[in-house]
């Protein structure tokens, strides 16, 4: 859906991007991660036709951003970093303004605005003045605005910036919903944990260079090839009696069982969901009190720390 091919950019004498390559496949939630000043905003602004690359090219939805900016703008919704909103209008007026600016035909405009408010849960706030909204609500409104022309690609620069945990989860749900609608979504952040539960592919950028890019699990595998064999779950028990790990070792697909640092059982296994079901059945069958079972994946944060070799912060 988006291809960034060998992009370079200079601000004056400062080379901000060096030969940046990555691809955002259709339908992915893509994390664009890097510390402050890495060049994320610069890259995203190029994707959004607001800046032209000095070298290389960027295709969005098959259109070159330099040669076909108007087509790119049609398929793309962009929420800039530190987005602004008009203050003294209501939510509904705000969205109607942008619907009109997008030249959505008059007869469809009301319906479009309603649909977008529905999707972003802004319906109850329709009469609220934007100036009287919280940061989280404004963020929601800013995302709603980018959806009006039903773009295939959403580019959100630092969407979770400054949100409290609750607002962040609401946003994650919204993004999940949007992904289910088939949208390709690019999120940027300099904070890993903001994105780790949303994205399935990432590009990690530092000082204008790509450190890693691709699907999260593939990067993880490349980082730790010996671990390629298995996936793992963490099993938390109410209590951990002596020998509580024994029953799991007997299962055929379980490769490895160990105790994690804060007590839980880390069980590496082959196969898919059946194995997980078998593990749970086994635990219950053995009279162990299961409190929680959660997947342990190739964690973004781990990847990030390894890839950036502690050069951050």
């Amino acid at each position: 859906m988006i291809r960034v091919e060998g992009v370079q950019h200079r601000f004056g004498a400062m080379q901000v991007l060096h030969d940046v390559w990555f691809t955002v496949p259709k339908g992915t939630v893509f994390g664009f991660i890097g510390p402050n000043g890495a060049g994320k905003t610069t890259t995203l602004r190029m994707m959004a036709t607001l800046l032209e690359p000095d070298e290389g090219r960027i295709l969005v939805g098959g259109y070159d951003v330099v040669e076909r900016p108007n087509d790119v703008r049609r398929v793309l919704g962009f929420m800039p970093d530190g987005f602004g909103v008009y203050e003294r209008v209501t939510v509904a007026e705000y969205l109607e303004f942008f619907a009109s600016a997008h030249a959505i035909p008059l007869d469809k405009r009301k319906r479009t605005v309603e649909a977008v408010m529905e999707l972003t849960d802004l319906g109850p706030l329709r009469e609220r003045l934007v100036s009287a909204m919280s940061k989280g609500m404004k963020q929601r409104l800013a995302i709603a605005r980018t959806l009006l022309h039903d773009p295939e690609v959403l580019i959100l620069d630092e969407p979770a910036n400054g949100l409290d945990p609750r607002a962040r989860i609401e946003m994650r749900d919204l993004i999940e919903q949007l992904q289910q609608l088939g949208k390709t979504i690019v999120l940027s952040s300099h904070i890993l944990t903001e994105l780790s539960d949303m994205v399935s592919a990432v590009c990690i950028l530092e000082k204008g260079r790509v450190l890693a890019s691709g699907p999260v699990d593939r990067i993880g595998q490349q980082l730790r090839p010996e671990q390629k064999v298995a996936r793992a779950v963490k099993v938390r028990l109410l209590s951990y009696p002596e020998g509580c790990d024994a029953p799991f070792r007997e299962l055929p697909d379980v490769a490895h069982v160990e105790r994690g640092p804060d007590g839980f059982l880390r069980i590496a296994y082959h196969g898919g969901d059946e194995t997980v079901a078998a593990i749970v059945a086994r635990a219950v069958g053995a009279g162990l009190k299961v409190v929680r079972v959660e997947p342990e994946r190739d964690d973004l944060e781990q990847i990030f720390l390894e890839v950036t070799r502690g050069e951050l912060q």
């Binding site: 076909r68 890993l192 997980v276």
Partner: protein, 635 residues
């Protein structure tokens, strides 16, 4: 990978609205008004500060009218005169307030969007820059029209004394509304081109206030002339209300107070808005066409006005008068020439892309379209129109009004000399400026150099002539030194000599400057066309090279080819959805006693049951980090 070709002809879904008939467009004006206008009006009416401003300023106007007007009109005057003084004071104060506040307010219109960070969102909607600019202009204009409405009751004070009529008041407001146009347009134009609101406001005031002061001074001075010529009685800048009210249908009043101000205001507003639109348009789009349309209208209007003004002259003044008026248009011509000498060598990229799929007529128009060479051609046409047009109009008017005049021959010859001389100088300025612009790559530098070259050419030959022979300038009537003939003002000197001394044979003397500047213009024109061709070739070569390099580089990165990625995405999607499924299923299948226990490991899992936030407590991977290969581009 190139863009799908069918998208070229596909109507833009959310882009420009489809073409409609006039009726539908008029209906759209009311049903679907400019969103920016609506939004701005809503916003300002909800701003408490604005409402307070309305109250306060209206009160202030009332106080000032009573204070100044009452002071100026001492007890001995008849009430009608007091009424007229109060009338003038009211409108002058209203004008002063508008001149101070309106440009400042309009100057924030686009910089403000930039500063709060909404500008880019607005631009990305694909809204036509012209619509954006018009929305901002109309909104600011409407706000101050509203301010005037709020002021209007105060004028009642003047009515108490008599001496004015409702017509005067209406025409006074008409004058204010006219003045408001350039004030607001200047603010919008500055805000379209500047980043900082503060700088924009400052510049708007610095430019507009002196301009308005000068204009008002001129107008007031005109009023004294009118008292003598037309017998009007009112003093002060708003004297024209009386003149218009009493003698609107006299040709001179109609032309000078009806048509001329309207033309000037409209042209200034149009120019400023064209400039604002060019400021909002990206550099890859056509920025020069709005200026070209404006120039065509302005020059055509100029021709009409020259015709009208010459018809107003007395029989005795007409030869000198018509020549003088036409000579005056030279300034306009030089400005036009420098205006069109400010284009980059190649036409804007996006315009060119669109041009490829256009019809033959558009291709023909493209010969005068954006880009240095076509714009220079267009500029040449405009220069010719702006020189020969007024000359022709002035001549025709003279023949038409005084068919039996005996000095037609001299006057015609003088006009011809001026037109031809100006045309040559204008073409030279245009071509030289264009060439400088594409060589220096700076609009400002090239303009400064072109204009100072012109100034130098106007002055230096005189100095040189005096230095060579101190007495050479003494009998210019009989033989003008050759050097002096080369100044850009020599055609005017020749024209004056023709009219004053009845020496029609001197017409041929203009051939010297015409040939000189004409040749220079031709020379620089050739340079411009050649250079543009070169640049075009160079850019095309670079482009090919770049694409080749990009393709080579792309081929070297197999991990980025689409199939591999799609596969990866498919597995990834499966994993992603699987994970969430697992967690919720597992939790619902847990024994009831287990699930009642606290499971709050992550900060967010309390507020969001059903999903687990594993990332917060995930530093438990015990494997040491290995130097595994990364998908780092190898350069």
């Amino acid at each position: 990978m190139s863009a799908p070709t069918e998208a070229v002809t596909e109507p833009t879904a959310a882009g420009t609205p489809p073409r409609r008939g006039l009726g539908a467009r008029l209906r759209a004006l009311t049903e679907d008004p400019n969103p920016i206008l609506v939004k701005e009006l809503r916003t300002i009416l909800r701003t408490p500060l604005f409402v307070r401003f309305l109250y306060l300023s209206t009160g202030l106007v009332a106080l000032l009218v009573v204070g100044i007007g009452g002071g100026a009109a001492s007890g001995s005057q008849p009430p009608a005169e007091v009424g007229q003084v109060l009338f003038q004071v009211f409108f002058s104060i209203a004008l002063a307030i508008l001149c101070l506040v309106a440009p400042a307010h309009a100057a924030t219109s686009l910089t403000n969007e930039r500063e709060i960070g909404t500008y880019e969102s607005l631009v990305l909607t694909g809204m036509d820059p012209a619509r954006i600019v018009w929305g901002k202009f109309l909104a600011s204009y409407a706000v101050f029209a509203l301010v005037l409405v709020a002021f209007s009751p105060v004028v009642g004070i003047a009515f108490l004394f008599g001496g004015t009529s409702p017509w005067h008041v209406l025409l006074g407001f008409y004058g204010l509304l006219l003045a408001l146009g350039p004030a607001v347009a200047l603010g919008v134009a500055l805000s379209a081109r500047l980043r900082s609101t503060r700088v924009s406001i400052l510049l708007a005031l610095l430019v507009f206030v002196p301009f308005a002061g000068f204009g008002t001074g001129m107008l007031t001075a005109f009023g004294e002339l009118s008292q003598r010529e037309w017998g009007t009685s009112m003093e002060g800048p708003f004297w024209f209300t009386e003149a218009l009210a009493t003698r609107f249908f006299e040709p001179d009043t109609f032309l000078l107070l009806g048509v001329l101000p309207l033309y000037l205001t409209a042209m200034v507003v149009w120019f400023l808005l064209a400039s604002a639109i060019a400021g909002v348009r990206p550099a890859a789009e056509d920025r020069s066409t709005p200026f070209k349309l404006w120039a065509l209208a302005a020059v055509s209007g100029l021709v009409v006005i020259v015709f009208g003004v010459v018809t107003l002259f007395d029989r005795h003044d007409v030869p000198e008068g018509s020549v003088g008026v036409v000579a005056f248009t030279g300034f306009a011509m030089i400005q036009l020439a420098t205006l069109f000498a400010n284009e980059p060598p190649l036409p804007p990229r996006l315009w060119e892309l669109r041009q490829e799929s256009r019809g033959r007529l558009a291709k023909l128009a493209g010969l005068f379209g954006p880009g240095a060479a076509p714009t220079a051609r267009f500029g040449a046409l405009i220069v010719l129109l702006a020189t020969f047009g007024p000359a022709l109009a002035g001549g025709l008017a003279r023949h038409y009004v005084f068919p039996t005049h005996d000095e037609h021959a001299q006057a015609d010859a003088a006009l011809l000399v001026i037109a031809a001389g100006y045309a040559a100088v204008g073409l030279f300025t245009l071509m030289f400026g264009t060439w400088l612009r594409i060589v220096l790559r700076s609009g400002v530098a090239s303009r400064v150099i072109a204009l100072s070259t012109l100034a130098g050419l106007a002055i230096l030959p005189f100095l040189a002539a005096v230095l060579i022979d101190p007495s050479s300038l003494q009998d210019m009537d009989d033989h003008m030194p050759l050097l002096v003939r080369l100044t850009p003002i020599s055609p005017i000197i020749t024209a004056v000599l023709i009219v004053d001394d009845n020496e029609v044979f001197r017409t041929l003397e203009v051939l010297v400057p015409v040939a000189f500047y004409g040749m220079l213009a031709l020379f620089f024109w050739t340079l411009v066309e050649a250079r543009v061709r070169n640049v075009r070739k160079l850019v095309a070569e670079q482009r090919v090279l770049r694409e080749k390099r990009a393709e080579e580089a792309a081929a070297m990165r197999p991990s980025f080819t689409p199939p591999a990625n799609q596969e990866a995405v498919a597995t990834l999607a499966a994993i992603a959805s699987g994970e969430h499924g697992e967690v919720s299923e597992l939790r619902s299948s847990q024994p009831p006693d287990a699930s009642s226990n606290g499971t709050t490991t992550g900060e967010s899992s309390t507020s969001e049951p059903g999903t687990s936030d594993s990332s917060t407590g995930s530093t438990d991977t015990t494997e040491p980090a290995s130097d595994a290969p990364k998908e780092e581009p190898s350069s």
